[in-house]
């Protein structure tokens, strides 16, 4: 039976703290699933539990229907790539990449190491000491090392977050291409929404140890299940029906309207709103505005303004294609324009406000 990874009701505890609280998730063969969540959401703990590095306090982890709970880390066939590489400092690049190939014949090992170094674009780096590598090179070696023994599952724990922006973008491409080329199923932990969307077939959003939603990136973006997910994905403002209507929403929305980064547009025929501040951006300007009824929204225009420029008002309207209507069941805390789920307390609703 080839079904890949199955996590069922996984619970991870650190003493009294519950880091992962009953998460169930599958990774199908060849699939890349991103675990997306803010820091402290339990995503790394879940990954470590899958690897066998943390004991499960409840639930199970299985592969192709075989329970792995009592299988030690090194027999699971799941390779892990760490945030800071964790290359073995006393081994060369080739020694690191070939680490998982112990027991293979020398020639076979060398061939495989060469192949992997080529895959990650480091041809000829084999004899170098890993201490002489740059951050990006080190992560590429770590990737090659993880893939060497053709693991059943690749686990990546924030593999790019220690790198600077430009390099991150480049390495994301390397990772994506490599995962595609090898067809290795992967569980990819990140707190970066763009990274998750760029690399994953499906994205699992975690908060406070609970799984909030699992979907492919497009569905996740178009249909966040609640305000918390919407808020974490970048829908930073939530409006009730009256507010939405005052900003030109066609008809009556069936629920709260979550406004995405492009959900508010400047339009001379729109509603005049007070400007709180302007911020010059590359190729445009970002306005902070107060929406009718309270709440702060952001609007991007192509205008090139400087800090010295002053604006008091801007005419804006909602662009429905940049917004989503949240499923009903949420009330709006009108004092703060923060949606409050019926069962949730302030702490749970708060992320949306950020």
């Amino acid at each position: 039976m080839v079904t890949g990874l199955a996590i069922r009701d996984a619970v991870v505890r650190y003493g009294p703290t519950i880091a992962v609280d009953g998460v169930s998730l599958d990774v199908a063969p060849g699939e890349v699933v991103a675990l997306l969540g803010p820091s402290g959401s339990g995503k790394s703990s879940l990954l470590r539990a899958v690897a066998g590095l943390e004991p499960l306090a409840g639930g199970s982890v299985s592969w192709d229907g075989v329970d792995l709970t009592s299988v030690p880390v090194h027999r699971r066939g799941f390779a892990m790539m760490f945030q800071d590489g964790q290359l073995f400092p006393h081994l060369s690049v080739a020694g690191n990449v070939g680490y998982a190939l112990a027991g293979r014949e020398r020639a076979e090992r060398e061939r495989r190491v060469g192949e992997l170094l080529e895959l990650v674009g480091l041809v000829g780096y084999g004899p170098r000491p890993v201490t002489a590598l740059s951050g990006g090179q080190a992560q590429r070696v770590a990737l090659a090392r993880s893939l060497a023994a053709s693991p059943r599952l690749l686990m990546l724990d924030e593999p790019l977050s220690a790198l600077d922006t430009g390099l991150r973008e480049h390495l994301l491409g390397v990772l994506d291409a490599t995962l595609q080329a090898t067809g290795t199923p992967a569980l990819y932990v990140t707190h970066d929404q763009d990274e998750a969307f760029a690399i994953a077939d499906r994205v699992a959003v975690l908060a406070a140890g609970r799984l909030l939603q699992v979907d492919d990136p497009a569905t996740l973006w178009r249909q966040p299940v609640n305000a918390e997910v919407a808020g974490f994905l970048g829908y930073r403002l939530t409006l009730d029906a009256a507010q939405a209507a005052s900003l030109g929403w066609p008809g009556t929305p069936g629920g709260l309207v979550a406004v995405g980064p492009d959900g508010l547009v400047a339009d001379p025929s729109g509603t005049e709103v007070p400007v709180l501040g302007i911020r010059p951006r590359r190729g445009g300007t970002e306005f902070s505005i107060t929406v009718p009824g309270g709440g702060v929204g952001r609007v991007r225009t192509r205008e090139l303004l400087t800090h010295a420029d002053r604006r008091t008002h801007l005419a804006v309207r909602l662009d429905p294609t940049g917004c989503v209507v949240l499923p009903t069941g949420f009330a709006l805390d009108t004092a703060r324009n923060v949606p409050v789920a019926p069962e949730s307390d302030d702490a749970r609703a708060n992320p949306v406000a950020r």
Binding site: A51, P55, P72, H74, H90
Partner: protein, 569 residues
């Protein structure tokens, strides 16, 4: 101890996060227990048993339990004079070593200048020199007919404190320096930009950050000073003694075992208190400060003049002068300068049981066996101590084990040596007439140093390296072979060096155990210096130079092989 890798260990990995769960990595607790069995058994038989047997003697008279022996000792004014002298010289030695050592650490670890490596090497030599040699060197300098005889410091408190500082200066410099070199300089930069002057930065930012290292170094220096033996015996003469020399005096000269045992108990109290303080400061130090990844230093500048001058005075005046004087005196003969003192080493000087060269051969052989023993045991102990148990109970056990293996550092080597004589003389361990006693005793003395050298490199291993290896399919055995062993090997050169140099110069226990027909070189030197006559004195000088050169060479090689950043304190 101030190993930077260790200091930069992420805290969340050490603290409440379980590292090795049921399916975790790094071996099972049962393996750790097995690895601990051999060293613990060794410690029990060759340390705990002899020492406690000696202590028990203090309470037993003719087979009856009594407190008379203890009471007599505690009632004697001589005891309190000795205790006062011991604490006095230890406090003075520690204070001076810290006051001189901290500026030295700044210069040698925070400033860049040509010859720094050589200077660091010069500074670290005295620590491993045999105590007897140092005693002889200072004696050669301060004796009434010596170059500094006019100071009238022979057999004085000042002479002993100077010799103690000579030994322990490098402990302070290296301990504080290792931390200082890794201290993130941006904290100081930040203070400067906030308007603090150099002195204020030093007082409010730098010294508080260094406090754990300074405290830890001070505790160790205090320990070494309080249990100093050879140097006090040689320099103190009849008028001056410490608990350690008094134990020796009571056992070998007065044969008053009860008194000796009572003194041993007193010493144990002092040592335990110091070890507790040292352990606490070390634990604090291992909880990281803000350290930069790489050592940072700046070129020497005008502002460093004070510390540069002070360090130059210390190095030349305190470290180099006694050694130079020793070398100079070793070439002085009745007929002017010459090598005849060295030629005399092939003979017995008319009074020794073996030639000096023969005693050197004895020393080398016993030191080799002692080194092998200490390093094997040290590897096992370090492996166990570097584990990170999941349970609080496990962590407590490890801390206790850690403290236990430090005990030989501070317990009188004389006590150990004498304990051997009274316990290992009947089955199951009838070793009294066996030469193996000496290497065993020396290994006991060297073991704490070996552990302190190996442990930082092992603790510096990020637990995630183990995890990475495990996810790559390596089982516990392969993880040890491919990760732990290569790391331990980096510290092994230094550990071997420390073990060999310490064993080579060990005097306290060896002086008890060496049979008359098989003395080691330090024992022969002590015999020579105790005899009248310029010839004997000259031979003692020459033999001391040989021993000093040998130990310095061993340590030099070890430092050269070993990782630069490791420092056993």
């Amino acid at each position: 101890m101030t190993d930077p890798g260790l200091l930069t260990l992420p805290l969340d990995r050490i603290g409440n996060r379980p590292q090795f769960g049921p399916g975790g990595v790094g071996g099972r607790p049962v393996v750790w227990v097995l690895a601990a069995v051999l060293p613990v058994a060794f410690l029990a038989v060759f340390f705990a048993w002899p020492v406690s047997a000696l202590v028990v003697r203090g309470f037993v008279d003719d087979g009856v339990f009594t407190l008379n022996g203890i009471r007599d000792v505690l009632a004697a004014p001589r005891t309190w004079r000795i205790v006062g002298q011991t604490l006095g010289q230890a406090v003075a030695g520690t204070a001076v070593a810290v006051l001189l050592g901290v500026p030295g650490a700044h210069l040698l670890y925070r400033r860049r200048f040509p010859g720094r490596r050589l200077l660091r090497a010069v500074v670290s030599v005295p620590f491993v020199l045999p105590t007897v040699v140092v005693g002889v060197a200072f004696q050669s300098l301060l004796a009434t007919h010596g170059p500094l005889g006019f100071l009238g410091l022979q057999e004085s408190f000042t002479a002993i404190v100077a010799a103690l500082v000579f030994f322990n200066y490098s402990v302070v410099v290296r301990t504080v320096g290792a931390l200082w070199s890794r201290l993130d300089p941006r904290a100081e930069d930040a203070a400067r930009t906030l308007g603090a002057g150099r002195v204020r930065v030093l007082a409010t930012v730098t010294l508080p950050a260094l406090a754990p290292a300074i405290a830890s170094a001070a505790a160790l220096v205090f320990l070494f000073c309080a249990s100093a033996f050879g140097v006090v015996l040689v320099l103190g003469g009849a008028s001056y003694g410490t608990i350690e020399t008094e134990i020796w005096y009571q056992t070998t000269q007065l044969l008053d075992l009860q008194a000796a045992a009572a003194l041993s108990i007193l010493q144990l109290v002092v040592v335990s208190a110091t070890l507790i303080v040292a352990g606490a400061t070390r634990a604090r130090q291992e909880r990281a400060l803000r350290l930069s990844g790489n050592p940072s230093d700046a070129p020497l500048s005008r502002a460093d003049a004070a510390s540069a001058v002070l360090t130059a005075v210390v190095v030349l005046g305190l470290l180099v002068t006694p050694m130079a004087s020793l070398v100079w005196r070793s070439f002085q003969t009745a007929s002017g300068l010459g090598l005849s003192n060295y030629f005399a080493l092939s003979g017995t000087g008319g009074q020794l049981t073996v030639s000096v060269w023969q005693s050197l051969a004895n020393s080398l052989a016993t030191a080799a066996v002692a080194t092998a023993t200490a390093v094997v045991l040290g590897l096992l102990v370090s492996y166990v101590l570097s584990r990170r148990p999941v349970t609080a109970q496990g962590r407590r056990s490890l801390r206790a084990l850690d403290a236990v293996f430090m005990l030989p550092l501070g317990v009188s080597a004389v006590t150990v040596g004498f304990g051997f004589l009274i316990t290992l003389n009947r089955p199951p361990f009838d070793l009294r007439s066996s030469w193996a006693l000496i290497p065993i005793a020396q290994a006991m003395v060297a073991l704490p140093l070996v552990v302190r050298t190996l442990l930082p490199t092992l603790r510096a291993i990020d637990p995630r390296l183990h995890e990475a290896a495990a996810t790559l399919g390596a089982g516990p055995g392969r993880i040890v072979c491919t990760i732990d062993v290569p790391f331990a090997l980096r510290g092994l050169g230094l550990a071997l060096g420390f073990a060999f140099a310490t064993s080579l110069g060990e005097f306290g226990a060896t002086s008890f155990l060496a049979r008359p027909d098989r003395p080691t070189l330090p024992v022969v030197i002590f015999r020579l210096i105790g005899r009248p006559g310029a010839e004997n004195f000259g031979m003692a000088m020459a033999a001391s130079v040989v021993l000093a050169v040998l130990t310095a060479t061993v340590m030099g090689l070890a430092e050269w092989i070993g990782p630069k950043e490791v420092n056993p304190w």
